[in-house]
């Protein structure tokens, strides 16, 4: 139809054509929102498991003695800043600024990698210096599986964004792929928001005097 003939020369028309649904929201975006709703329940289950066992066994470990809150606080800040860069990538993609897309995506991936390295270091530190493993106690089980699942989400996000970064260097990249970058961005922001929750209820709460 006319959409296709327009699309080749007018990138804006191609993006607008994707909005011609019953609600005006693109299909891919709507499906991603549904997935994120579902992912909330995945993390909700893991976080509840951690908190329940933390409440049942308050003295099984002293997390404050193990956690390195400055380091984790720093890597949490870096992850938050990656969300900022992600928003700039999406904005650049919608403006057709392909150079901007590359720089900001690269930055998002770089910050995501810093966060992941922080987590790998943290895990290594906990295992070697404190002997906290998956099977040392319930705290170890819930902590590693919860933060590990989040780490897998970040890693998959990095692979996803990295693939788009490579794609922008090929001649297959078209302006309407701004939607795909936006959808990947939704995922990335969600993973960040989940980390804010995890950082609060797993780490910060341990430092609130009247709770411990």
């Amino acid at each position: 139809m006319s959409a296709h003939s327009h699309a080749a020369d007018d990138p804006h028309a191609a993006l607008e054509a994707l909005k011609e649904t019953s609600t005006g929201i693109e299909n891919k975006k709507l499906a991603m929102w549904a997935f994120l709703a579902s992912d909330c329940m995945f993390f909700g289950t893991l976080i509840s498991t951690h908190l329940i066992y933390r409440k049942i066994y308050p003295d099984i470990v002293d997390p404050k003695a193990i956690f390195d809150i400055e380091l984790t606080g720093f890597s949490s800040f870096i992850l938050l800043m990656s969300s900022f860069l992600m928003a700039l990538s999406v904005s650049a993609a919608h403006k057709g600024n392909i150079k901007g897309v590359r720089w900001f995506l690269g930055g998002t991936i770089f910050f995501g990698l810093i966060f992941l390295c922080g987590q790998v270091y943290e895990f290594h530190h906990f295992v070697t210096d404190f002997g906290l493993t998956l099977s040392s106690n319930v705290f170890g089980s819930t902590f590693y599986v919860l933060t590990g699942t989040h780490g897998v989400h970040v890693a998959l996000g990095i692979i996803w964004l990295g693939s788009w970064l490579v794609y922008t260097f090929t001649d297959r990249y078209k302006a309407e792929h701004a939607l795909d970058i936006e959808v990947a961005g939704l995922y990335w922001h969600f993973v960040d928001i989940v980390w804010i929750v995890i950082f609060t209820v797993v780490y910060l709460v341990e430092y609130v005097p009247f709770l411990t």
């Binding site: 296709h4 011609e20 609600t23 299909n27 329940m41 289950t45 099977s135 106690n137 599986v145 078209k174």
Partner: protein, 657 residues
């Protein structure tokens, strides 16, 4: 519809699609390749139905062996261990491999037609859901062929019985990974259906004009995406307990087995509504057609469905009344459970109101529907009985509970699904199933079902525990068990007759016109069976029962049609990737099952994780293949006679490709 504007891949039929992946995309839409690579929601729906009916028969045979064992006291037809495996596999198979996929078959086939769409929003993802279902069923049943055999822990697999210490064999690992891959099937399907229903409705088809079945598909899909994560995580935690030494449910390390019960039923209770809401949707389509009246109280039925779905998340602990939750929790969950009787009762009264004063035709689908109302009510009444904690304490783990959930799952879900098959069979194949044989099937099933399950109420009340391999004579349970087994055999006969009738009708059935039932909704507007592109035009909807208005309504409420544009109708290309991705997941899951098992070439060798990594690499590779080949597509030009007299496509519209 414009799901995907991957412009350069769009070519005009019959030109070959561009070579965008590792290989040329499959073009042939017939034969084995056509079925394996299909992205057509109708073919996917048929494959779902065939798979589900196969597993229905398998689960049915398992049930019959169980009943044979219980026919007389102190028998040893099968060993106690085999008995445990059979009731575990019977429950798991019927829920995850028979009833859910049979509902999914209707979601796939009927829902896009009811909303006037060309296909679902993501055709290749739809195909992925299908293959994950097939491979999940294969993984689960592969367990029979390995040492130790099938899982024997019950379909809800309570901890700590599933612990490595008490279940050292790999049956439980097969169960975990089988359910995990079936969860993926349900989740990707549901994301797709939600997007399709919200976003791809025909012009004029507002939410409150949606056919009831489409509404229930939407609500069920929301239940799936919000309930399945709980069991996915619980299964991951169990897998970690069994393979990596964690203590989630392991008492020795401080784990609490009750946590499994909570997580399982947070999924498990919405799950029973996942099984019954599609059935209620089907009933709400059939009753108006054969009563020749519009559905009574349409908005109330829609909202009741939504309320049932919502409350379904707040009642899980009524499965755990006897675990000692404390007075306040037990009272709250009992109260919320009783509340569910209200929206359910509202629905039943509305169905009765639909029939009231109608010119009723007792066809086979109608018989099954009326049977549904009656039998589902019986199951509902016993459900209200054990919503009361003291009563539940008496009935917990007795045959009374078995009677209850078979009344809602066979008399409820399965009767409605059979009603749906009889109703939509002419839509799918263009052939009528014999009414005479259909009625025989109904009465045989109805009698067999009640004979099999009604005595179980009495068995339960007189104290017979469920899941016991045998029982002593002289307990007063001989008569009821004997007749129950006879009833189960009659029920089995009815299902066998039904399957024979389906196969016969496929080959020898009488051809019929597009609208044999004098139906009311959009799916009957187009051909039976529908062409590949469903509608040759874009329907413009003006009323709730659009086909009925087309036939009998005023001109202002008649459907309009918009002709396709000069480029014809946009069709997606077929693809190998969904199948390959599912195979990757299958291999990864098998690797996890065998993780920790010694290899056949030496006691020390471990190969499980290696296989898992290979499987995950295949999965990742297929995701890239999938993304790089793009949705593709070509244009079809339907015969102009099909949209004769339709409005011309507006110049600005990109709508119906």
């Amino acid at each position: 519809m414009a799901t995907t504007a991957d412009v350069e891949n769009v070519t005009h039929a019959p030109a070959e699609p561009a070579r965008t992946g590792l290989w040329k995309r499959p073009l042939k839409n017939t034969g084995l390749v056509g079925w394996l690579t299909t992205v057509d929601h109708k073919k996917i729906g048929i494959l779902y139905a065939v798979g589900a009916l196969f597993f229905l028969l398998l689960g049915g045979v398992e049930a019959l062996i169980i009943r044979a064992q219980l026919m007389f006291p102190e028998q040893e037809v099968i060993s106690a261990r085999t008995y445990n495996q059979l009731f575990t596999m019977h429950g798991t198979t019927m829920i995850f491999l028979a009833v859910m996929p049979l509902s999914a078959a209707f979601f796939n086939y009927i829902m896009p037609l009811q909303i006037g769409a060309r296909d679902v929003a993501f055709p290749r993802m739809n195909s992925l859901g299908l293959w994950c279902f097939i491979f999940g069923g294969i993984i689960l049943n592969l367990s029979w062929f390995f040492p130790g055999g099938a899982p024997d822990v019950g379909w809800f697999a309570y901890a700590p019985l599933t612990d490595r210490q008490y279940s050292p064999d790999i049956g439980v690992d097969f169960w975990i990974m089988g359910l995990q891959i079936l969860g993926i099937a349900s989740l990707v399907g549901s994301f797709n259906f939600i997007t399709t229903i919200i976003n791809m409705r025909a012009p004029g088809l507002s939410m409150m004009r949606l056919p009831l079945f489409t509404w229930m598909t939407l609500i069920t899909s929301f239940l799936v995406i919000l309930a399945f994560p709980a069991i996915t995580i619980a299964l991951i935690q169990l897998m970690f307990d069994r393979h990596f030494g964690t203590f989630f449910f392991n008492v020795e390390g401080g784990g609490k087995p009750i946590l499994w019960q909570h997580l399982f039923w947070i999924f498990g209770h919405p799950e029973v509504y996942i099984l019954i809401l599609p059935a209620m949707g089907i009933i709400s389509e059939i009753l108006p057609v054969f009563s020749r009246k519009p559905l009574f109280g349409y908005p109330l039925i829609v909202f009741s469905g939504a309320v049932i779905g919502f409350l379904g998340f707040a009642v899980w602990s009524h499965h755990m009344f006897t675990t000692g939750l404390g007075v306040i929790a037990t009272t709250a969950f009992a109260f919320l459970t009783m509340l569910i009787a209200i929206p359910t009762g509202v629905k039943i009264f509305n169905w009765i109101g639909t029939m009231w004063g109608g010119r009723i035709r007792f066809t086979t689908p109608m018989l099954f529907s009326v049977g549904f109302i009656w039998m589902f009510m019986m199951g509902g009444f016993t459900g209200i009985m054990h919503s009361s904690p003291p009563v539940d304490a008496q009935q917990q783990d007795t045959y009374f509970v078995v009677a209850h959930f078979h009344y809602v799952l066979i008399g409820g879900s399965l009767f409605a699904l059979f009603a749906g098959i009889y109703f939509w069979f002419p839509k799918v194949t263009g052939k009528m199933m014999s009414e005479f044989v259909g009625k025989i099937v109904f009465y045989v099933m109805f009698i067999g079902f009640n004979l099999a399950f009604f005595p179980m109420h009495i068995l339960g009340m007189t104290g017979m525990p469920r899941r016991t391999h045998t029982y002593k004579s002289g307990m007063g349970w001989e008569q009821s068990n004997f007749w129950s087994t006879i009833g189960a055999m009659i029920l089995g006969l009815g299902v066998a007759l039904f399957v024979i009738q389906i196969i016969y009708t496929c080959f020898r059935g009488r051809r019929t016109n597009g609208d044999p039932w004098d139906a009311r909704t959009l799916e009957w507007v187009t051909d039976s069976p529908p062409k590949e592109y469903n509608f040759a035009y874009t329907p413009v909807v003006h009323a709730r029962d659009q086909l009925w208005e087309n036939k009998h309504g005023p001109d202002s409420r008649k459907m309009e049609r918009i002709a396709p544009g000069p480029h014809g109708i946009h069709m997606p290309d077929q693809s190998w990737w969904p199948l390959i991705l599912a195979i990757g997941l299958f291999i990864a899951c098998l690797g996890m099952v065998f993780h920790g098992e010694p290899a056949w070439w030496g006691e020390e060798a471990r190969y499980g994780l290696g296989i898992t990594i290979c499987g995950l690499l295949i999965t990742l590779g297929s995701i890239y293949g999938w993304a790089l080949e793009g949705p593709g597509g070509f244009h079809l030009h339907p015969d102009p006679k099909e949209y004769d007299g339709a409005l011309p496509a507006p110049e600005s519209s990109h709508g119906h490709h």
